[in-house]
């Protein structure tokens, strides 16, 4: 688990450095996600060599289990920031009701437009494609 976590942190660290250096509007962890993806692709290109060189947790499924363990508890990680937001609801002040309406309607519109476009284009390019 420690080795897997080290690799994930290393990807994030390099990702943060690349995001900062490039000045692009991408969060460091998202660059880290791309780097971990690259690692997985390269690892499975040469599985035998990977098994010889890499520490066992990175090739025996431990990395996958650790990562999925984090993702299964993604809800947990929003608690600290969310609890802080509750204390700052005063910034909504005068426009509270109007802002709440805009947030709800705009979120519904965005969800609908995204999902319907996805389904429509999928039917158009690959009519037989079932999920």
């Amino acid at each position: 688990m420690i080795v897997s976590f080290t690799l994930i942190l290393l990807a994030q660290l390099v990702g943060e450095a690349m995001a900062k250096a490039s000045g692009l509007p991408v969060p460091g962890p998202v660059v880290g996600m791309a780097l971990l993806l690259l690692f997985l692709v390269l690892r499975d290109r040469a599985p035998r060599r990977a098994e010889r060189i890499l520490p066992p947790p990175l090739v025996d499924g431990n990395l996958e289990r650790s990562g999925k363990g984090l993702l299964a508890n993604l809800s947990l990680m929003f608690i600290p920031a969310g609890a802080g937001i509750v204390g700052r609801l005063d910034v909504l002040e005068a426009h509270g009701v109007a802002l709440a309406c805009v947030v709800v309607v705009s979120t519904l519109a965005t969800l609908t437009a995204t999902a319907l476009t996805f389904v429509a284009v999928k039917r158009w390019v690959a009519p037989g494609d079932r999920p």
């Binding site: 976590f5 994930i8 942190l9 994030q12 990702g15 692009l24 509007p25 991408v26 969060p27 962890p29 998202v30 996600m33 780097l35 971990l36 997985l40 996958e64 650790s66 990562g67 999925k68 984090l70 993702l71 508890n73 993604l74 809800s75 947990l76 990680m77 929003f78 608690i79 600290p80 920031a81 969310g82 609890a83 802080g84 937001i85 509750v86 700052r88 910034v91 909504l92 426009h95 802002l99 709440a100 805009v102 309607v105 705009s106 979120t107 519904l108 519109a109 965005t110 969800l111 609908t112 437009a113 995204t114 999902a115 319907l116 476009t117 996805f118 284009v121 999928k122 390019v125 999920p131």
Partner: protein, 238 residues
């Protein structure tokens, strides 16, 4: 100072207390969610945040004291984002097959998010500087705060609106998709991640791993495209 109070004063200053309380609140919220068969209204993010805010209010704990302990949990958001590569890689064949629908949904979804926020905001008579903080509301917090600041908005207000949008999307996505009769988990997940960033992605992972993988992609891509499109969209405001 009585003995009990001295103990409380000691414990409330260590990160251990608030880290443990955060994990306990999550365990309770998750238990409620499973007991209600993961009902959309029992969204663990929403329930846990409300519970946590109540505990802080009742104990009169200042947020910085709480965050000393909770920061360890908050920190994990970064590694969890990196870990999105794992389901993405696992379902790579499905992802590559869905490249065209994904890109089309990305463009349409992010434009609708921006334009609906601006037009509805104007229609409700919300002042210009507040609308600017509303514009990046579907994007992950860090990027949204940056976008709002660049456009001359208040980053704290942007963060509050981002979190409210995430919770709204996390609650509404399942009933809305059922209403629209969209059963494709790729479309459902992608919409959740695009409209409601990480909170939508957390919801998607609870429902289905494919939905989670697609939500993760949408979260990353939407941060990027909104950062480019938001300054353009705001020019329509004047």
């Amino acid at each position: 100072m009585t003995g009990d109070f001295a103990l409380w004063v000691y414990l409330s200053r260590t990160p251990l207390l608030w880290l443990t309380v955060t994990l306990m609140v999550y365990a309770v919220a998750d238990r409620i969610a499973t007991a209600t068969n993961r009902h959309p209204l029992a969204n663990p993010v929403v329930v846990a945040i409300i519970l946590m805010a109540c505990v802080l209010k009742l104990t009169g704990t200042p947020y910085p004291t709480y965050f000393e302990g909770a920061q360890f949990v908050h920190f994990l958001l970064g590694p969890a984002t990196v870990a999105l590569a794992i389901p993405l890689y696992e379902y790579r064949a499905t992802v590559i097959r869905s490249l065209a629908p994904m890109l089309a949904a990305l463009v349409v979804g992010s434009v609708v998010a921006l334009i609906s926020a601006i037009t509805l905001g104007s229609a409700f008579g919300i002042p210009h500087d507040v609308i600017v903080a509303l514009v990046p509301k579907s994007v992950t917090t860090g990027v949204a705060m940056g976008i709002a600041q660049n456009l001359g908005g208040d980053p704290t207000l942007a963060a509050v609106l981002v979190m409210l949008t995430g919770m709204t999307g996390g609650i509404l996505v399942t009933p809305l998709m059922n209403l629209l009769r969209i059963r494709d988990m790729r479309a459902r997940g992608f919409a959740a991640g695009l409209a409601a960033h990480g909170v939508g992605t957390a919801r998607a992972f609870q429902v289905n791993e494919v939905a989670g993988a697609f939500a993760g992609i949408a979260l990353g891509l939407n941060a990027f495209i909104t950062a480019i499109l938001a300054p353009l969209a705001v020019t329509f405001l004047r």
